[in-house]
């Protein structure tokens, strides 16, 4: 995996842990609204970016090995 992708995964994991910690204490309607409006979208988009980057990264690694 590329160095940048690894670091992005770590940065995301840190934020996700922080959200879990906050969510366990934040239980009002605003938390639900926040989760619906922002968090789920941020989570989905980050995941899809990382999946797409991983696939391209892996394909490039395989291609360079195979075409060496």
């Amino acid at each position: 995996m590329s160095n940048s992708l690894e670091r992005l995964a770590v940065a995301w994991s840190t934020l996700a842990d922080c959200w879990q910690q906050t969510r366990s204490q934040w239980r009002d309607g605003t938390a639900l609204e926040f989760e619906r409006r922002f968090w789920q979208e941020v989570e989905r988009q980050t995941r899809e970016l990382m999946v797409a980057a991983e696939r391209l990264d892996e394909a490039l690694a395989c291609a360079l090995r195979d075409c060496d």
Binding site: S2, N3, S4, L5, R7, L8, A11, W12, T14, L15, C18, W19, Q21, T22, Q25, W26, R27, D28, G29, T30, L32, E33, F34, R37, F38, W39, E41, V42, Q45, T46, E48, L49, V51, A52, A53, R55, L56, D57, A59, L60, A61, C62, A63, L64, D66, C67, D68
Partner: protein
């Protein structure tokens, strides 16, 4: 509300973590793009080399029609063509993956540019709200609750109370400590059946009132209506809250009278428990109960018909 106050520090942490992630993610996405471009360039170089190789051996074959090396050249040309086809196959596969990545990266850029700043804005507003609430609680503990403090806590535009209507108020330490008008009781939400709780679809809750407006309304009801009623449960009616609204220049739609009537007027929450039922069934007020649960309330003011009594 206690739970919200406990989350203030972690909310601040979350806001900081979102800011940190946003900055890092932008830099890392740029670096990732550069890394991937670099590796694509390496593959392009391999493709160019394979093309040159094919051209070289094709030329060698053309120039060696009668040569004894022709067979060897043809073999080399065939191998070079295979290598070129192999690189081309990889290029096609990578083209698909690159398109997908480019689309997702553009979406992620927009997320960082638009959604994340909005997200941080909401978190900051919530933090400010909780800080304001915390200061009011301290005031109450010191016996110094005031109309100004209530104004600081209000989510709506009602920020002061007319001196002509002197009703000291403030958010309660515990909702169920507050007295209710005759006929109403605090019903623990754990005793209310949630089997038929309504859900909110597309942000619209009930009678055209959004979920967000209901959340705001219930919080104002707890912070501004119930404490006043508790001082004189049967003496304060809708007219007192109308006077407060008028003094604050507040219309009915956004005022306290409407909140009062929502719970203690004709549209009160009504719960019924049969002789053989463990929990109360909701006859009226399901949406308010749904929001109260989301807000972490332990109980709700309601009229009840309890056949077990």
């Amino acid at each position: 509300m206690e739970a919200e106050l406990l989350s203030l520090e972690s909310l601040c942490d979350l806001e900081g973590a979102v800011a940190t992630f946003s900055g890092k993610a932008r830099d890392l996405l740029d670096a990732l793009r550069a890394e991937l471009r670099h590796r694509e360039a390496l593959l392009n170089e391999r493709e160019d080399a394979a093309r040159q190789e094919v051209a070289y051996w094709r030329s060698a074959v053309e120039g060696a029609e009668e040569s004894e090396d022709l067979e060897s050249y043809l073999s080399e040309l065939s191998a070079a063509r295979e290598r070129l086809e192999n690189v081309s196959r990889w290029q096609a596969r990578i083209g698909e993956e690159r398109t997908r990545f480019t689309v997702e990266a553009a979406r992620f850029d927009r997320l960082l540019d638009q959604a994340v700043p909005a997200c941080r804005g909401d978190l900051k507003a919530k933090i400010a709200d909780l800080r304001s609430y915390g200061s009011i609680q301290l005031d109450l503990r010191d016996g110094a609750s005031s109309a100004a403090a209530v104004g600081a806590a209000a989510e709506g535009p009602l920020s002061s109370v007319s001196p002509a209507v002197e009703i000291p108020v403030g958010p309660p330490a515990k909702l169920t400590d507050l007295s209710l008008p005759d006929g109403f009781v605090w019903v623990p939400l754990a005793q209310v059946s949630q089997a038929r709780l309504p859900s909110f679809s597309a942000g619209v809750a009930n009678k055209g009132v959004s979920y967000e407006a209901m959340v705001s309304g219930l919080r104002r009801f707890a912070g501004e209506v119930l404490p006043r009623i508790s001082l004189d449960p049967n003496g304060l009616g809708f007219d007192a809250f109308r006077a407060l609204d008028e003094a604050a220049g507040q219309d009915y739609e956004h005022g306290l009278q409407r909140l009062y009537e929502g719970f203690f007027g004709k549209d009160f929450i009504y719960l019924v428990r049969g002789e053989d039922q463990e929990k109360f069934a909701i006859t009226n007020g399901g949406h308010r109960i749904r929001v109260a649960l989301d807000l972490g309330w332990d109980a709700i003011p309601a009229r009840v018909k309890d056949l077990q009594e």
